[in-house]
Assembly symmetry: C2
Amino acid sequence: MSRLRDTSDMNDSRPTIETVAARAGVGRGTASRVVNGSSQVSPAARAAVLKAIDELGYVPNRAARNLVTRRTDCVALVISEPGDRLFSEPYFAGIVRGISSAMAQTQLQLWLSMVSSSSERERTGRFLTREHVDGVLMLSQHADDPLPAQVRARGLPLVLCGQPLAASPDVGEMPFVDADNATGGRQAAQYLLELGRRRIACVAGPQDMAAGVARLEGFREVVGGDLVEYGDFSEESGAKAMTALLEREPELDAVFAASDPMAFGAMRVLKAAGRRIPEDVAVVGFDGSPGGRHTDPPLTSVFQPTEEMGREMTRLLLGQLAGDQATESQVILETRLELRGSA
Amino acid sequence: MSRLRDTSDMNDSRPTIETVAARAGVGRGTASRVVNGSSQVSPAARAAVLKAIDELGYVPNRAARNLVTRRTDCVALVISEPGDRLFSEPYFAGIVRGISSAMAQTQLQLWLSMVSSSSERERTGRFLTREHVDGVLMLSQHADDPLPAQVRARGLPLVLCGQPLAASPDVGEMPFVDADNATGGRQAAQYLLELGRRRIACVAGPQDMAAGVARLEGFREVVGGDLVEYGDFSEESGAKAMTALLEREPELDAVFAASDPMAFGAMRVLKAAGRRIPEDVAVVGFDGSPGGRHTDPPLTSVFQPTEEMGREMTRLLLGQLAGDQATESQVILETRLELRGSA
DNA sequence: GATGCTCTTGGGAGCGCTCCCAGATGAGGC
DNA sequence: GCCTCATCTGGGAGCGCTCCCAAGAGCATC
């Protein structure tokens, strides 16, 4: 009576592992061992089970498995930033993409939580228990964010994006992935020096984020001086800082901005002030974002491999989940100067 | 021997509903009824159970519940776009934020899947079954994306962001949330007319997306004419289109760009061509994105409530999940012209 | 042929929960 | 006092899976 059907919804009752075992002519245990890749199975039994699985279109029931294994197969991705400013930055987009694509190779699900208010922070904090997730990936650079320590205290595997500030608790053991911000700052400064620039200013990032501190530090190692104004990585703050810098030193001939958006803002102000880029003032950003290709002139920038950072975060977390001691817990990825037109 | 401990990890064995029932002096069934908000419980029993839950810090085991209820309490958020261009746009960021915050009020988990390659598309497609998720939210505007129809065919609750093109299959019944793009286009055109502009050009969006079509349609209803060039919503494409428009009609005195990034590109080209904004050429964008506040001059733009769109998508999906016939299945949200400096 | 080993196997037990049925309780009507 | 009905309650059954134990099979050794 039944005609050909999509195997994906046979009669609304999907096959269980018992069905598979029966069809393969083996016991439930053996079927389970095959599904979970145990080596303790004879080739014949394995083949029979695999055939049955294929014919029945068997998919293991996640809930049943999680119930007995006491894992959740679920990893939280927490994006913890006030306001919506940062999420729209290419930096975040690249990392999320990297994480997502690496996670797609896995059994794991990626649970997304965006935290901007303190009430959301509290809600999320309460949720981040072993009861709900196996591990946590966190995009949060602010030193005063309590979530990382909280997660860590519960013994949940955690990988941060961005080195925590030295002032943070447990900073030594916090696993993280970051770009080599200090070297990036050095690369920018060195290049500007090599161009023959001598009055080099810096639009630095916020000093309550490790990235802001390190980029400035690297820059200063090479250039010295104190022609520095601070922003918060946003375009607007970059424009403000640039205005201040121009006032302090009208003769400046180069600027290093610690983020691409800040560089965009700085370029806008420079142009409005009648400076030609790069002839009068050379500009170097930090991010190497795609948007920098389309400014006028295109922005020379220190590239950080955001997508790779996301993939590395995932790799570190998987290592922790597997209890693999060999996996390193802190990874710093190289930056490189991407020459376009602004310097 | 034991000192004060975080109740969240007492002895590594979390209380079960049986523990709660025992402590409250009731049966397992009654405890379960209280947890699930059944009305068939006497006030005294309810109070006792709630007290026990509180004292024990009881949290229901999700896997066990899902096993028996045959739900997953999990909703997929699929962001289906080629390349990483779009994800970094404020449009996406706002919607994701809205979805995330609405979902946080819920039992549901949000499973994130970013799809850019066709292999990822296939993987995701295979995963989007009732076995894995209860429903799907999809951010995908391209007409040729097979995922929506696939999900729909499986009978999974689905809400799209952005009205599907009329050419798409099942378009009539596809639940979606969108901004009123046509009216938005009209608003922009009308305003430019009211300003006394007479040679009004349009940088239109891609015509394989409903948003691109509708915004142009609305614009044309008011302005007519064929001073139109097409972009793909990106800044670069906006610049290209603007260049072409200037060539075709050097005397144009206004431009409507169907996205903010395209407007940014257009403004850049206009300035490079020596046009003053808004004196020589008035510019109106579409998005009302925060970035538009910091251009020079700030960008007048048709605002679409992205965050609200995300919240509405969530609401519609929850309605479907609850089997609530009263919940409308298609929502179109108002746009409004946000006056800044460029027009 | 008995013994000891390894490799493989089947299936009982049980994870924590909800569903549902049968029973207890109490109020109300005869 | 007895029956009926509605309300509330306890706990058995069972969701689909993995874990683990005991036992069978096969082989080499004594």
